[in-house]
């Protein structure tokens, strides 16, 4: 792998590449390793809270478990479509690559929408954080109103962990959108931002969270303006590494957070 043949009109001598692969890929692996530690710390914090709290709540009814299972299926399917996008890219099939990337984004957005619905349901039932906006006329007798008061570790670690993951999935969709559509994705991203901002009530945490999309649009605009390029198969592969990582993290969040806290009647 380290021996690379260069075109003979380039008489340069280079060191063999680290791990026999290109720098972008190594850079992404290093980022993913550091990000694993971030998620590792959050998962350990959740587990620590659970171990040290005897009355840990089990708030997830079968409806929530079904919802989370469908979310998992969305992510697993998105990983399959992503790997097919990489395969299309290395075979030089640009149309198939774009279609598979768009399919991956659709699965990712499905995941975020279902997750948003799950969050909204839990918040409406009283499971909330002090930083979230107050619901108008929120019933003090909601099913989880006491949980937030008696076991504040649960909402803190639950929303922290799943919120961080949701942010990663959202940014992953943006990343894939830029790779698939380049500049054409910026107006789509702005429409998504407006839809998310105006389509959510002002007391929803997503009303403010939607501004992540505006920030992403600004950053993507700057990146695409500074370095416009056609993304090749190596860029698609590196984007794929990131996408599979968010899928991988969910494989631990789903059993640890949802299945281990299922309400079994």
């Amino acid at each position: 792998m380290a021996d690379v043949t260069l075109p003979h009109e380039m008489p340069a001598v280079y060191e063999p590449s680290l791990f026999g692969t290109y720098s972008k890929k190594i850079g992404m692996w290093l980022f993913l390793m550091s990000d694993s530690l971030t998620f590792g710390a959050l998962l350990y914090a959740y587990s620590y809270g659970r171990l040290s709290t005897p009355n840990w709540p089990t708030p997830f009814h079968s409806e929530s478990i079904v919802n989370a299972t469908i979310m998992t299926a969305f992510l697993l399917t998105s990983s399959l479509t992503m790997v097919l996008a990489v395969r299309a890219a290395v075979h030089g099939d640009a149309n198939a690559q774009r279609l598979w990337l768009l399919a991956t984004m659709a699965c990712g957005m499905g995941f975020v929408l279902l997750h948003g619905r799950e969050w909204s349901k839990l918040i409406a039932e009283g499971l909330t954080l002090p930083v979230f906006p107050k619901l108008p006329g929120q019933a003090a007798a909601g099913e989880f109103a006491n949980v937030a008061k008696t076991v504040p570790q649960f909402p803190a670690t639950f929303f922290g962990l799943t919120g961080m993951h949701m942010l990663h999935v959202t940014l992953g969709v943006v990343y894939l959108g830029v790779v698939a559509l380049r500049r054409k994705f910026i107006p789509i991203l702005l429409i998504m931002w407006l839809a998310a901002w105006l389509g959510t009530p002002s007391y929803s945490p997503f009303h403010y969270g939607a501004h992540v999309l505006l920030l992403a649009a600004v950053v993507c605009g700057i990146v695409l303006w500074l370095k416009p390029k056609v993304y090749d198969s190596s860029d698609v592969e590196v984007a794929g590494l990131y996408w599979h990582f968010v899928d991988l993290v969910w494989m631990f969040i789903f059993p640890l957070v949802y299945l281990m806290s299922a309400k079994i009647l």
């Binding site: 590449s17 590792g40 171990l51 478990i65 198969s233 590494l241 599979h244 990582f245 640890l256």
Partner: protein, 111 residues
């Protein structure tokens, strides 16, 4: 330097061209099947510790499949496989040092 990176990327892409499509569908099917087993086990009223052990075992298998096949780690050189995975597992294992403290909290307080 750009040309050098391009040449390596082309070589990596050439290796990927030889990977069959079917294996990805098999891995996807296996991941979905393991997810279904996890959900099924949730409603079997197993003891929490036993349940946690099985779920985490299945999650590790799923993680290995995703890293190995979808992230192509299986096809990387062994130096990269060992260095990255061992470093990561060691760092994550170090965090377990806090768990005995979580258990100690349960025995504290006014008796």
């Amino acid at each position: 330097m750009e040309a050098f990176q391009q040449a390596i990327a082309e070589q990596v892409a050439e290796q990927h061209r030889h990977h069959g499509k079917a294996q990805f569908f098999w891995v996807w099917g296996a991941l979905l099947a393991m997810t279904a087993i996890e959900v099924y086990l949730t409603y079997q009223n197993l003891q929490p510790v036993r349940m946690l052990t099985i779920l985490m075992g299945l999650s590790l298998v799923k993680a290995a499949l995703i890293i190995g096949y979808f992230m192509h780690m299986k096809y990387e050189i062994s130096q990269m496989k060992w260095l990255t995975m061992c470093a990561l597992v060691a760092c994550l294992a170090l965090m377990m040092i806090f768990f005995p403290d979580a258990l100690r909290i349960l025995s504290l307080g006014v008796k």
